[in-house]
């Protein structure tokens, strides 16, 4: 697959604990029109798996269930290549330390 810099950023963000579309935008600074197609492509290629948040968890937080993305084993392997290629990936902030708003 074509490993672009934005794709690598998304992979890195997922590895660092950002699991939802908007969180990934926060972590990477990429716009939604870039992040979502990347997620769809990664999903199609099996590098990322997605599932829906449990209804009960969402109800507790009084909002609709969110879609949750995570790296697959293949995705992690590709991320290793991406890290070799783009040293700056280390700058992607972990989820806990990310900015509250963009």
């Amino acid at each position: 697959m074509k490993l672009t810099y934005p794709t690598s950023l998304v992979l890195q963000a997922l590895a660092r604990g950002s699991h939802h579309g908007f969180d990934i935008m926060d972590a990477t600074g990429l716009p939604s029109g870039t992040v979502y197609p990347i997620l769809r492509r990664l999903d199609g290629e099996g590098l990322v798996a997605s599932r829906w948040e449990k209804q009960t968890d969402a109800q507790k937080a009084q909002r609709p269930p969110r879609r949750y993305y995570r790296l697959t084993a293949d995705g992690e392997a590709v991320l290793v290549q991406a890290r070799d290629r783009y040293r700056a990936l280390e700058d992607v902030r972990p989820a806990a330390a990310r900015a509250r708003t963009s």
Binding site: H20, G21, F22, M25, P31, S32, G33, T34, V35, Y36, P37, R40, G44, A58, Q62, R63, P64, P65, R66, R67, R100, T101, S102
Partner: protein, 883 residues
């Protein structure tokens, strides 16, 4: 809480944009975007940070959903194109049913035949043996490199020493094929029995369906009267009796306790095994080192590789060789993975068949390729319009390949039907050489292979015509001009297809031709006896009722007398092993002829050894060349006598008359016997195996409890089978009658392996020839139609029809000659793979190759005559006006 205006706008935007998203993804897409927007808004609100700036950011972020939706839509369109192309291809195929039928049938034949052969290869060669951790199972053989014996069975004493000394195995088990007569359940019947050491079942990881396996102490003689039934025997002979375990049955008239029933999936040593009894050794057996009659199977200890086990066993064999030089000197042990041992005889022929069937598939693909090239020419304008409307070359190629894929899918589905029939045919033709550990059938693996094959075939058949059509110049095509470049490319490709088809067909036809010539040669061999009119029956006398020689001799004398009285019977005799038969007792007997080099040879030479009754040679039609045959005077108290065959006389009597000479047999000088007769040689081990030195001894002097009785009849031997059976029962009603067969059937069975390979390879060659003929016809028709204008011009300029005819024929025959040259070169290389299956025919046999090339050239000539004659009927005026 009422949502802020920005959030409401965001949600509205998402709702509007969602119309862009393909229906199958729309709901999920909307849910995801709405959840993210709400989550973000609530998080900001909770921190009192939902001001106009953050609301604007949220709106900007939501606007990105347009790109997301557009991306999904583009993906969907690409997928939809495929469906659209497939639908279009189907419509086109239905409009050209003849083209569709020929292409699909061709692919179905190729894919089906390949699938059928693959299913056999998969079941026999690729799937592991159906036992626990089969990769750790090995066969142990005794081998004597000096005499070329690679896989001899094992002697008891050696086996017991291995068990004691070897560290490489967790278990070593032994077994031997046996037969036991079941009585007391209707007609006495001989059941195929495995005498197996009690540790065999645990070693294989097998457990009985009911009851228990054998206990270790049941290896001792006296405690071994227990039996395990096969599933089939339990069902058929005991009506699936649920209380069978614990019951006593009579085997060889001895009581045996049924201790269990094996599941129907258990087939060891082979699927014909009906009973298992413990392999117990008599005390004298435990010291035997030269009678190698047991098979040994072992389980490697965890982590021990075969090489290490081999090294250890060779060390042990060396030690035994030094300790017992008489019996073990020069003997080694061969450790062979059980999987290799199981498929050894089947691997070569199966791989040859797989190669052959892949050639058929290649020819089928080439055929479809040539048909597509021709059709591509007819679709020039349609493709040009698509090109002019903006379809890229890649898009056109995709469209054309989808076309082939649709045909290939139909061919693949038809191929499964062909494969089903093919598998039934292969299984019914199988001479028993194919190991049946795993069922040969269309299962998930085979299905996956067929799907893969279908895609591969569609690429193979479609790529070349696809490239050719997609790369043509659209402008020329639109004008309907058959531009020289375009015409030349398609023509050249078509010619290449003909050359390839001829070459591939020659390889297959030469292979089949060589096998046919070999088979004819085998059939011409003189078996050494007259098989017509002979019927044979196996008689085994149980030792408890016939313990002594005189009883056994009397039984056979009386039985033969009784048989001779039967109407139509002209002679009757008996022998320990019949020619072409796997039943009976075969010996390699050491011997020496007094006063010749063999008398001092060490070790002594060995010859085949058979015990016969008086009338055996006359009954079989084996010619007596000198001296006499056995008579009733050749009894235990008379002078020991032997009869030798011509091979033995020529090889071991140093050019002298063997009659009257003394021969010692069985080692030492313990059995001196006078040679009283010389008989013709018999091809005992098959028509394609040269006769070996052989001598016969009279059954009154060396009595044996098991003989193959043979009767000669004036009429149809199968017709008196019932009478023969009755005669045996009249003599002893408790005696099972097994293996009643005519000698012609035995002869036929001995040829079955050869026939199996011949029929399949011949069948594939015939399909190849048919496909090649269709292909040549199609290509010549196409190239001729492309040249209509050229022929018109030529005829307008004075050419006569004969010139045009010769031109077309010459052009075709040049391709055929090139294909034949390439094919012959390939056949000479490839046919060496068949060498082991050939008989008195070299792989480069010029007669076979010549006949195949001439035959194929003739077929090609016939195929091109039709289109060539059509070309001669071109009206110059019509052809020129078309320009």
């Amino acid at each position: 809480m009422r949502e802020p205006a920005a959030v409401r706008w965001c949600l509205r935007l998402v709702r509007a944009v969602s119309r862009l998203v393909p229906g199958r993804d729309r709901d999920d897409w909307r849910r995801e975007w709405e959840a993210e927007i709400r989550h973000q808004a609530e998080t900001l609100d909770a921190r009192d940070a939902l001001d106009w700036r953050t609301q604007m950011t949220l709106l900007r972020r939501t606007s990105g959903s347009v790109f997301d939706a557009a991306w999904l839509r583009r993906q969907f369109t690409r997928d939809a194109e495929l469906v659209q192309d497939a639908r279009e291809s189907l419509r086109l195929l239905l409009r050209q049913p003849r083209f569709a039928a020929i292409s699909i049938l061709t692919l179905a034949l190729g894919i089906g035949a390949t699938t059928a052969v693959f299913s056999v290869v998969d079941a026999v060669l690729l799937k592991p043996l159906p036992f626990a951790e089969p990769e750790r199972l090995v066969m142990l053989w005794e081998r004597q490199p000096a005499t070329g014996r690679e896989r001899d069975q094992v002697a008891t004493a050696n086996l017991l020493d291995w068990r004691e000394q070897a560290q490489s195995f967790t278990e070593i088990a032994s077994y031997v094929y046996w037969g036991l007569a079941l009585t007391g359940h209707g007609e006495p019947v001989e059941l195929q029995t495995g005498r197996v050491s009690p540790n065999l079942l645990p070693l294989l990881g097998a457990t009985p369906l009911m009851g228990r396996g054998f206990h270790p102490d049941e290896e001792t003689a006296g405690r071994d009267r227990v039996v395990l039934l096969s599933h089939a025997v339990w069902q058929q002979r005991f009506g699936s009796d649920p209380a069978i375990v614990g019951r006593t049955i009579l085997l060889d008239e001895e009581p045996y306790e049924v201790v269990g029933v094996m599941p129907d999936t258990f087939a060891f040593p082979d699927p014909e095994t009906e009973l298992w009894v413990p392999l117990s050794y008599f005390p004298y057996e435990k010291t035997r080192r030269s009678q190698r009659m047991f098979y040994a199977i072992a389980r490697l200890a965890p982590g021990v590789p075969v090489e290490a086990a081999q090294a250890e066993m060779s060390t042990i064999a060396g030690r035994l060789g030094r300790a017992y030089p008489q019996t073990n000197g020069g003997w080694d042990v061969f450790v062979e993975p059980a999987q290799d041992a199981a498929v050894r005889t089947a691997r070569g022929p199966l791989l040859v068949l797989l190669g052959a069937v892949l050639l058929v598939l290649l020819i089928a693909c080439a055929n479809v390729s040539s048909l597509l090239l021709a059709r591509g020419a007819e679709r020039q304008q349609e493709l040009a319009i698509r090109g002019a409307l903006g379809a890229s070359r890649g898009r056109l190629l995709r469209y054309l390949l989808t076309d082939t894929l649709v045909m290939a899918l139909a061919g693949g589905a038809g191929g499964l039907l062909v494969a089903y029939v093919g598998i039934q045919t292969i299984v019914s033709l199988d001479p028993g050489n194919l190991p049946h550990w795993n069922a040969i059938a269309i299962d998930g693996r085979v299905l996956a292979f067929t799907i893969l094959l279908t895609f591969a075939a569609s690429l193979l058949a479609g790529l070349m015509p696809g490239f050719s059509a997609a790369h043509a110049a659209p402008a020329d095509m639109l004008k309907g001009v058959r531009g020289p470049a375009r015409g030349q490319t398609a023509k050249r490709l078509s010619h290449a297809v003909v050359v390839a088809e001829i070459a591939l067909s020659i390889v297959l036809l030469v292979g089949a031709g060589l096998l046919i010539r070999s088979f004819a040669r085998v059939l011409q061999q003189d078996p050494g006896f007259r098989p017509a009119g002979l019927l044979s029956v196996s008689i085994f006398l149980p030792s408890n009722r016939y313990p002594d020689d005189p009883q056994q001799i009397r039984f056979f004398e009386d039985l033969l007398d009784r048989l001779r009285q039967l109407p139509g019977v002209t002679a009757a005799g008996g022998v320990t092993t019949l020619p072409m038969s796997s039943v009976g007792v075969d010996h390699d007997m050491p011997f020496a002829v007094a006063g010749t080099a063999s008398d001092t040879a060490d070790p002594r030479p060995e010859a085949d050894f058979r015990i016969t009754t008086d009338d055996y040679f006359r009954t079989m039609g084996v010619p007596l060349l000198a001296g006499r045959t056995f008579t009733s005077h050749d009894h235990a108290k008379g002078k020991p006598v032997v009869i030798v065959n011509t091979t033995m006389a020529e090889r071991f009597f140093e050019g002298q008359n063997p009659i009257g000479r003394v021969l010692y047999w069985g080692g030492g000088r313990t059995h001196p016997a006078e040679v009283v007769g010389l008989v013709g040689e018999v091809r005992h081990r098959g028509l394609d195996t040269a006769p070996r030195p052989e001598f016969y001894v009279p059954f009154r002097q060396v009595s044996y409890g098991s003989l193959e009785v043979v009767v000669r009849t004036a009429g149809d031997p199968a017709g008196i089978a019932g009478a023969v059976k009755e005669a045996v029962f009249a003599q002893d009603p408790a005696l099972p009658v097994a293996q009643i067969e005519t000698m012609d059937d035995l002869l036929e069975t001995s040829l079955a392996a050869r026939r199996f390979q011949l029929v399949l390879l011949g069948g594939f060659a015939a399909i190849a020839l048919l496909l090649a003929a269709v292909g040549i016809y199609g290509v010549v028709s196409f190239t001729t139609s492309q040249r209509t204008q050229e022929f018109g011009v030529r005829m307008a300029l004075g050419a006569v029809p004969r010139d045009v005819l010769l031109m077309v024929v010459r052009d075709t025959m040049i391709r055929v000659a090139i294909g034949a040259a390439l094919g012959t070169a390939a056949a000479v290389g490839v046919s060496r793979l068949l060498e082991s299956s050939l008989f008195e025919v070299r792989p480069t046999d010029p007669i076979t190759i010549g006949a195949v090339v001439c035959g194929l050239a003739l077929v090609a000539l016939v195929c091109c005559l039709g289109p060539a004659r059509r070309a001669t009927r071109v009206d110059p005026l019509v052809a020129l006006r078309a320009e």
